[in-house]
Symmetry: none
DNA sequence: TCTTCTTGTTACCGGTTTATAACCACGCCG
DNA sequence: CGGCGTGGTTATAAACCGGTAACAAGAAGA
């Protein structure tokens, strides 16, 4: 998870960045408004933390600009007792705010909550690579421009795993665990069957697979080109 | 918009309720945990404001119970300097919190932000989509220009959930939780029956559903054209 | 209280999906 | 050549799922 932090107070910036990176987040720093926007465009972070009081371009303007670009969650930082700011920030579309001073613990808790919420909202984007498009919601695949093909639960999961590593071979044991869970590990027959059925669905000629190919020495890969 | 407020401090409860109702919200009050849950089930509010420190059932427990029933936004109230509580509350799935004492202005700003976010998330779950119009007050649906059809409580909730995601498939487990709460989770038979009964009410030919269709491999969707 | 409507429970049917087993073809290596 | 491991295929059994019916339990209203 990538987090953009913008604050002109370099001490605070360093502290916030340190706390976040300790917690495993990748942090991008900016010390003014224009810098924050440039970094936003370059890095497309998953979350933005903005100080309201920055010289030049204020946090408000940056927030507005970010809102215009998409729905990345934005957290505003404000000095204590500036309720005006807070109301304005939330009206501009900020998702949360923190009043300085705050503890790293609080920061992390709020960041975590925001990220959880936003990833939960997305979650349902179609997964695609090359000519293969997977519609997880409707349990269908679409190859090139052909009509969508209905999939079963297991077929979907197998394709999902292969698509995530599109073009590269995925080990059989790994697939077994990912599709069936640990229960099925070691049972190659399950995978054989599933591949067989899936090929009959998605391949023009199942005997000579173009998409779902066998990869030596023990695995499969999805060729998407 | 309906807001449920639960606090054992009756002065504060009154103050909060007054501020909110002045702002045009419909307020339901509760002074303890069990009362809050009962009111929640009876009124299905759009937002819940919970004091953490209540005698008997704590705000945490109430919060957990509400999370289990759906994704209504929850705001927690906590006394200053209780960061443990705050972290715990957010981990339990609370969406926001306020530290006492707070001004009515702050309260309203946060409430507004939470409600805006949740309604945006729900993709403005309306009472109507395409030719299907749901009258929640009167427990009726209207299909195209036909006369309204009376619904039971469960039928209404099911339609409400499907209508909110009109056209898209909704997972059975999700429906079970949303309609029955966690109690019914895992019991597909309940859903089967409800769908069956509902189809007999709203479909011209229940055997070939045009509106309430089965979505592979485990869900239903409302087709509204 | 009695009656009616709603909801929950159990059972069964037919279809699909998944699991299990057996068999074949192929390449590898002694 | 012949065992052995691998992947592909076929066949069959078991599990699961959705739809339906019938009935019991519960809630609501007269």
């Amino acid at each position: 998870m990538k987090i953009l932090v913008a604050d002109d107070d370099l001490d605070l910036l360093g502290l916030v960045a340190y706390s976040l990176s300790q917690a495993g987040y990748l942090v991008i720093k900016a010390s003014d408004g224009p810098g924050a926007l440039a970094a936003f465009d370059a890095e497309s972070p998953d979350l933005v933390i903005l100080d309201i009081n920055m010289p030049g371009t204020s946090g408000f303007e940056v927030c507005t600009a970010i809102r215009a670009r998409g729905d990345v969650p934005v957290m505003m930082l404000t000095a204590r007792g500036e309720e005006q700011d807070l109301v304005k920030a939330l009206d501009l579309g900020a998702d949360d705010y923190l009043t300085k001073p705050f503890s790293p613990k609080t920061l992390l808790a709020r960041v975590k909550a925001l990220l959880r919420r936003s990833t939960a909202e997305r979650a349902q984007a179609p997964l695609a690579a090359g000519r293969v498009t997977l519609d997880i919601e409707n349990y269908t695949v679409r190859i090139a421009n052909n009509p969508p093909i209905a999939l079963t639960k297991l077929e979907l999961r197998l394709l999902q795993m292969l698509l995530a590593q599109a073009g590269r071979a995925v080990n059989s044991d790994r697939l077994l665990v990912q599709v069936w869970g640990h229960r099925g590990s070691g049972d190659r027959q399950l995978l054989k069957q599933l591949v067989h059925r899936l090929r009959h669905k998605i391949e023009a000629n199942p005997a000579v697979p173009q998409l779902l190919q066998t990869a030596a020495p023990s695995g499969y890969k999805l060729v998407v080109d």
